[in-house]
């Protein structure tokens, strides 16, 4: 039997809260609670992968049926500026507008 992964089989609510923060998801407490239960059940199921001995087995990152051909490295036109900005919820000075993210004194 391969060694079990370190860490608990189920997640604590605080852990889920910090995962949601890592994933840039601001969720209400009730959702965090529900997620904690759901993820615990899903991870308990996923743990059956530990039954298998995978020593020496190459990981599959991508199925490679054949080598996909590369395209020629040639310059081509990109999206016109105004089209690239067309769907932005807010624009400013011909760019995407975002709240400030540099601390200013």
């Amino acid at each position: 039997m391969p060694p079990a992964p370190e860490g608990p089989a189920t997640l604590a609510e605080d852990e889920v809260r910090s995962l949601a923060r890592l994933a840039n998801l601001d969720l209400p407490d009730a959702e965090i609670q529900r997620l904690t239960g759901d993820l615990g059940r899903i991870l308990a199921y996923v743990r059956q992968l530990e039954e298998l001995d995978v020593t020496g087995i190459e990981p599959t990152l991508h199925v490679e049926i054949e080598r996909a051909p590369l395209r020629a490295d040639e310059p081509h036109e990109s999206l016109p500026h105004e089209i690239a900005l067309r769907e932005a919820p807010r624009t400013s000075m011909e760019g995407f507008a975002v709240p400030g993210f540099v601390e200013e004194d």
Binding site: L19, R34, Q48, T60, I65, P99
Partner: protein, 510 residues
């Protein structure tokens, strides 16, 4: 014009238009009329592009009038899964996060306010070039995450065989579109069964091609090592024609294969005598509904009557497919969906004091529950400390699952199995139990993980009993890489003798 012309096969319909026996405009008008009359009760479409469709149809008619050659889909109305980019037409992927902010008086969740892509997905461009008329964008589970279409941010799609039941998902709208005769063909995408399962549950034909056979350029990405675009139609030949149009190398997709495209439609008349059909015992394990198993076993007997030989085979790692898939697909999704941040397109939470709050609120407020669940799970399995235990381990198990297929395709030409362990289930039945929903994908996930082609073709529907109507059942055929033509040949041969042949749900409205 007689609206039942819409019930003809795609090759027949394109032939009628090409010979001028019916105009593309008449066909499109009939199609739009049917959508108006029938779709209110079904929810197959999120948006309909009536004006653009009529314009495209007239262009086909004018081309014919000038004596120019028409494409293989001349005047054929097609529904497009809303995960595929359509130039200037709303594209939502079933999510609120791809909606432009509402102005005063506008409904909060109206798919007509969806992101307007500046370009067509390659498959969409190929359909247009072949003369197809794109009528609208079909309903789906948000970001293709789901197996019942109930995770659509807008409304669920309903199964035309019994509108209290799901059509399956995530390409539920595309399946309903074809099953209810709203359009003769549709495109979907399949990451873990999202074409095959709704095809099975609605009695249509759905093909998931080999990974890399069809371009994903312009497909809203869910799990990039698994996503594949494919067709839905009412019969195998029609689906084969659609596949022939969309398949082939695309320099815009790094995973697109260079292999020549086979003649899928010609393969539909091919003799299948002598084909060795593997029957994997793991696909008839505990959990399959007896009526589904009976129907699939009858189809297997039908394949024998066509001269095929059945060979019992084993795919021993099948039982690990669900766990493997939900680690890998959620990991990839957590990365792919990081692009939805409220800055460049789509929804945006107002009033955020800094960039981090803008991201987190936009995403927290606009992703649905299942999407949030998968992003958090994906973040967990990729996080330091758990990466090796979950993500890397799942990638290694994926290798074992692939090897099962490589091994078995040394002994047999095709695998035949069920698509779904159950018939279409009632709306609401599994929404509160994500794991139960995931477990029902057990028969479709392995082929996705192995990257091999697979399709669903109807077999005998279950008999009506105890107030439950007769419901469709799908036969899944799985082949070695790039052997879509072989699958089409076998599916077409089976379709010729299938008890499901020609059966359609009774749908009210012209």
């Amino acid at each position: 014009m007689d609206p039942t012309v819409l019930d003809r096969s795609i090759p027949e319909l394109a032939g009628l238009v090409t010979r001028g026996e019916v105009s593309a405009e008449e066909v499109t008008t009939a199609c739009l009329d049917r959508i108006t009359k029938r779709d209110g009760a079904l929810g197959a479409f999120l948006t309909v592009q009536a004006d653009e469709a009529l314009e495209a149809a007239r262009a086909v008619d004018q081309k014919r009038a000038r004596g120019e050659a028409l494409g293989p889909l001349a005047g054929v109305p097609i529904g497009i899964k809303d995960a595929l980019c359509t130039r200037d037409a709303p594209t939502t992927a079933g999510s609120r996060i791809l909606l432009r902010p509402a102005s005063k008086g506008e409904a909060a969740a109206d798919p007509r306010r969806g992101f307007r892509p500046p370009y067509d997905a390659t498959v969409v461009a190929r359909l247009r070039a072949a003369g197809a008329v794109l009528v609208g964008k079909t309903n789906m589970d948000e970001f293709a995450m789901g197996s019942s279409n109930e995770n659509s941010a807008f409304f669920p799609a309903r199964n035309p065989w019994d509108p209290t039941r799901t059509p399956g998902g995530s390409s539920g709208g595309s399946a309903v579109c074809v099953a209810a005769g709203l359009a003769p063909g549709a495109l979907g995408s399949d990451t873990g069964g999202s074409i095959r399962q709704p095809a099975a549950l609605t009695g249509t034909v759905g093909i998931k091609p080999t990974y890399g056979r069809v371009s994903r350029y312009g497909l809203v990405a869910f799990a990039s090592s698994l996503d594949q675009v494919g067709p839905f139609a009412a019969d195998v030949r029609s689906a084969a024609r659609l596949l022939g149009v969309i398949a082939g190398h695309d320099p815009h997709d790094q995973t697109s294969l260079g292999a020549p495209v086979a003649h899928y439609e010609d393969a539909c008349g091919r003799d299948v005598k002598g084909l060795r059909i593997g029957v994997p015992e793991e696909y008839f394990a505990k959990g399959i509904e007896p009526a589904v198993e009976k129907s699939v076993r009858e189809a297997l007997a039908g394949l024998v009557s066509l001269g095929c030989e059945l060979v019992p085979v084993r795919l021993p790692h099948t039982r690990y497919a669900v766990a493997t898939y939900y680690v890998l697909a959620t990991a990839e999704a957590s990365s792919n969906l990081s692009r939805y941040d409220g800055v460049r397109f789509g929804a945006r939470a107002e009033g955020a004091e800094d960039l981090a709050a803008l991201y987190a609120r936009t995403r927290g407020q606009n992703f649905g529950r299942e999407v949030a669940r998968r992003i958090v799970l994906g973040t967990y399995v990729l996080s330091a400390g758990y990466y090796d235990a979950y993500y890397l381990r799942a990638q290694r198990v994926r290798t074992l699952i692939r090897r099962d297929f490589e091994e078995v395709f040394r002994q047999v030409d095709v695998l035949a199995a069920p698509v779904s362990p159950t018939v279409a289930f009632p709306l609401g039945e599994r929404v509160d139990d994500p794991l139960a929903m995931y477990l029902a994908d057990i028969y479709t996930l392995p082929a996705s993980l192995a990257g091999v082609p697979a399709l669903s073709v109807p077999c005998a529907p279950t008999p009506a009993a105890d107030g439950v109507p007769s419901l469709p059942v799908g036969l899944q055929l799985v082949g070695p890489p790039l052997e879509e033509a072989r699958l089409c040949a076998l599916a077409a041969a089976w379709e010729g003798i299938s008890p499901a042949r020609g059966s359609r749900p009774k749908v009210s409205g012209a």
